[in-house]
C-alpha cells in the first residue's frame, strides 16, 4: 500500500498558513489598481513599519478585511522610501501574520508621485484612500483612524 499521499497531505495540513509574499510595485501598478473597475470598495492604506500611528491602526484594516467581503484592503508600505531593504517589512508581515494584501511601493522622487496618488495628500503617514470600485467615488484622509472610522468613510462613498 502507498501511504505517501496521505503522509504528504497530513504534513501539509499541519503547516501553519504561511505569511504572504508582499510584492514590490511601481506607481503605475498602484495607479492601475486604483483605477480598475471592480465590485469592491477599495481601501488603500499608506503606512510604514517605522510609523507608530500606522502600526497602531493596522488591526482596524485587518478586521475590515476579515469581516467585509465587499471590501478589498491593500496596505501600501512606503518603507522603501527610507530603507532600500524590504526585509523589515517582510518580517513585520510574518510577525503580525497580516492577512490583508501588502505591497511595497518602490518609486523615486516623492514630490512627483504623491499628487498622482491624491492631490490632498501632504505625504505624511498614515494616510488612507477609499475608492468605490464601481463609481470611482473616492475619499482621502490623512490621519490615524480609530474604531468605526473606516465603516463611516466607506458609507460616505457607497
Amino acid at each position: 500500500m502507498n501511504y505517501l499521499p496521505a503522509i504528504v497531505f497530513a504534513f501539509l495540513a499541519c503547516v501553519p498558513t504561511s505569511a504572504q509574499e508582499a510584492k514590490i510595485i511601481r506607481l503605475s501598478q498602484l495607479q492601475e489598481m486604483m483605477a480598475k473597475q471592480s465590485d469592491h470598495i477599495k481601501v488603500i492604506n499608506f503606512w510604514a513599519t517605522w510609523c507608530a500611528p500606522c502600526v497602531k491602526e493596522i488591526p482596524l484594516f485587518e478586521k475590515l478585511n476579515r469581516e467585509r467581503t465587499d471590501v478589498k484592503v491593500t496596505l501600501v508600505s512606503l518603507d522603501l522610501d527610507l530603507d532600500p531593504n524590504p526585509e523589515k517589512v517582510y518580517r513585520f508581515i510574518s510577525r503580525k501574520n497580516l492577512q490583508s494584501e501588502v505591497v511595497l511601493l518602490d518609486e523615486k522622487d516623492p514630490n512627483s508621485y504623491i499628487d498622482r496618488i491624491d492631490k490632498n495628500w501632504s505625504g505624511a503617514l498614515p494616510a488612507t484612500l477609499i475608492i468605490n470600485g464601481r463609481t470611482g467615488k473616492r475619499k482621502f484622509v490623512e490621519k490615524e483612524l480609530h474604531d468605526g472610522d473606516l465603516e463611516k468613510l466607506i458609507a460616505e462613498i457607497q
Partner: protein, 203 residues
C-alpha cells in the same frame, strides 16, 4: 436689477466655494511674528532676525526617522547659509504626551549631543505649527525678508532623496536660496515628501 442681484449672488457663491478655509501659509504669504522657547531656555522670535535676508524655518523633531535621516543635512544648511544671511530656525511641533521622545528635555539632549548652532524651539501650544500649516517632519518654510516683512518663498522638502544624501538630484531648499540671493524667481516653490505626521494634541 434683479438680474444683477442674481449675478452678484452667484458670484458670491462661487467665491465662497473657491475659497475654502486656508490651512496655513502659502507661498507669497506674509508671516506673522512668533515667539517660542529655545533649548537654551531663552525666547526666540522671528523679529530677532530683522537683519537677516531670510530664515530657513524647519518643523523638525527628535523621533521621526526622516528627521534623523535629514539631521546632518539640516546642520549643513545652517553652516552654509547662516553666514550668507539665511540661518536655520528649527521648531519642534509634536505633543510629548503622544511622542515622549520629543519632550523639551529630550530636545535639549539632542541639541547638545549634536552641537546645534541654531535654535531648536518647542511649539508647546502647537499654535505656530498650525498657523504655518506644517504637516510633517521635517517640513521646510523658507522665508525671505521683504522690507519689514517676512514672506514665504518655498514650502516643502529639503531635497528629493531622503534615504541617500549622495543620490540627491534636486536640492530644493538650496536652489531656492540661491535664486533669492541672485534676485531670481524660486524655480520650484512647493514640494511634497513622505514623512512623519505631526503628533497633534488630542482634541
Amino acid at each position: 436689477m434683479m438680474r444683477n442681484l442674481f449675478v452678484a449672488a452667484a458670484c458670491t457663491l462661487l467665491l465662497v466655494a473657491a475659497n475654502p478655509v486656508k490651512n496655513g501659509y502659502e507661498v507669497g504669504d506674509k508671516v506673522a511674528d512668533f515667539k517660542l522657547k529655545n533649548v537654551d531656555g531663552k525666547m526666540v522670535s522671528l523679529t530677532d532676525y530683522r537683519n537677516a535676508k531670510g530664515v530657513i524655518v524647519i518643523f523638525d523633531c527628535n523621533t521621526c526617522p526622516y528627521s534623523k535621516a535629514y539631521n546632518e543635512r539640516i546642520m549643513s544648511l545652517n553652516k552654509k547659509y547662516a553666514a550668507q544671511g539665511f540661518p536655520v530656525v528649527a521648531i519642534q511641533p509634536n505633543d510629548p504626551a503622544i511622542s515622549p521622545g520629543d519632550s523639551f528635555d529630550e530636545m535639549q539632549k539632542l541639541a547638545q549631543k549634536k552641537g546645534y548652532d541654531f535654535p531648536y524651539l518647542f511649539d508647546e501650544t502647537q499654535v505656530v505649527s498650525k498657523s504655518f500649516g506644517a504637516t510633517n517632519t521635517p517640513h521646510v518654510f523658507l522665508l525671505k525678508k521683504e522690507g519689514a516683512d517676512f514672506k514665504v518663498a518655498y514650502i516643502g522638502a529639503i531635497d528629493d532623496n531622503a534615504k541617500d544624501a549622495s543620490a540627491v538630484t534636486k536640492r530644493y531648499v538650496e536652489d531656492a536660496i540661491e535664486a533669492l540671493k541672485s534676485g531670481n524667481a524660486v524655480p520650484t516653490n512647493q514640494t511634497k515628501a513622505i514623512g512623519c505626521t505631526i503628533k497633534w494634541k488630542n482634541a
